[in-house]
């Protein structure tokens, strides 16, 4: 039987989740976008309200199922839909946005307990010149939520950048992902 693995992309609206999946998927990606009705419409015409879905075929190693979840905290319940059998998570940040840190804070406030149990990579998207200050600020925010993860600058439209994120996820799995620190932090949260 062909093996299947699952990866989830999370992050604020406009962080690049749908773009990531479209760039990677070997099948036409499935999206559930609708036109925005709130202030988000000023930045973005549409938003995902259920999930994005794509598949990456890995030859003999099976298939990687790619899920993108809505960025707004009101859709947190969608994580339960994809939770079973997740291999890891990619947290996307819109590094070009003046409110990048607020967006990441909402994502971590919403998903920190789940992220603490998974190998995780933080990807700064949409600004190839994103500086070390922003990267460090993101790492500090992760730490304050009891999370430890590598943070890299990517262009979500570039397949090779996304493969680099996956390499970092798989490296954590190969080295034996340890969620002790996150569990201890969450016990005191």
């Amino acid at each position: 039987m062909t093996q299947t693995h699952k990866i989830v992309f999370i992050g604020e609206p406009g962080a690049g989740k749908t773009t990531c999946i479209a760039a990677l998927s070997h099948v036409p990606p499935v999206s559930t976008d609708v036109a925005c009705t709130d202030e988000l419409a000023e930045r973005k015409a549409t938003t995902t309200v259920a999930l994005d879905y794509g598949e990456l075929h890995l030859g003999d190693q099976g298939r990687l199922l790619l899920y993108g979840l809505p960025g707004q905290s009101r859709f947190r319940f969608m994580f339960d839909v994809v939770r079973e059998g997740l291999l890891g998570a990619v947290v996307l940040v819109d590094a070009s946005s003046a409110t990048a840190m607020e967006g990441l804070a909402e994502t971590l406030d919403t998903y920190a307990p789940e992220l603490g149990q998974l190998p995780c990579v933080l990807a700064l998207n949409k600004d190839a010149r994103a500086g070390e200050d922003l990267r460090q600020a993101c790492l500090d925010l992760l730490r304050r939520h009891g999370l430890v993860a590598p943070a890299i600058v990517v262009d979500a439209r570039r397949r090779e950048d996304i493969i680099r994120m996956f390499d970092l996820l798989f490296m954590q799995l190969e080295l034996g992902f340890d969620d002790t620190e996150a569990r201890e932090a969450n016990a005191w949260a």
């Binding site: 609708v34 036109a35 009705t37 988000l40 309200v49 259920a50 707004q72 859709f75 319940f77």
Partner: protein, 136 residues
Amino acid sequence: MGVIVPPNRGQCDAALQHLVDSSDGIRAAMLALRDGRPFVERCRSQVDCGKFAAMVSSLVALGQTALRELGAGGLDHVLVEGREGKLVVSSIDGSGGLLLLAVLAERDARLGLVLGHAKTCAQAVSDAFPPAGRQA
């Protein structure tokens, strides 16, 4: 997608109240915006309206996506039947996909009646849009 012209909120309120009053078996009725935010609701019991509205928009989006992928046409309604209740969700005609109607009914409520009441309510909400604002 054209400019969104909101419906008359008072008429929407009245339509939902009429729906909830029309049957003891209806526990909650909600109009949700397509991107998962509550617009108007009437509930007999405690319901987390923010989460309810988000789930309603996800259900409709997944239903539309599944039908599209399977070549089964547009969505008429979503029906979720559980052991303790049933949920019917439909899109409001003439709102350009802006509004979704969700009706949560008791387990024993007759499905035909719930669907009928929901359809009547949806028509009343559709009529609450100004004629110039009605969209396909």
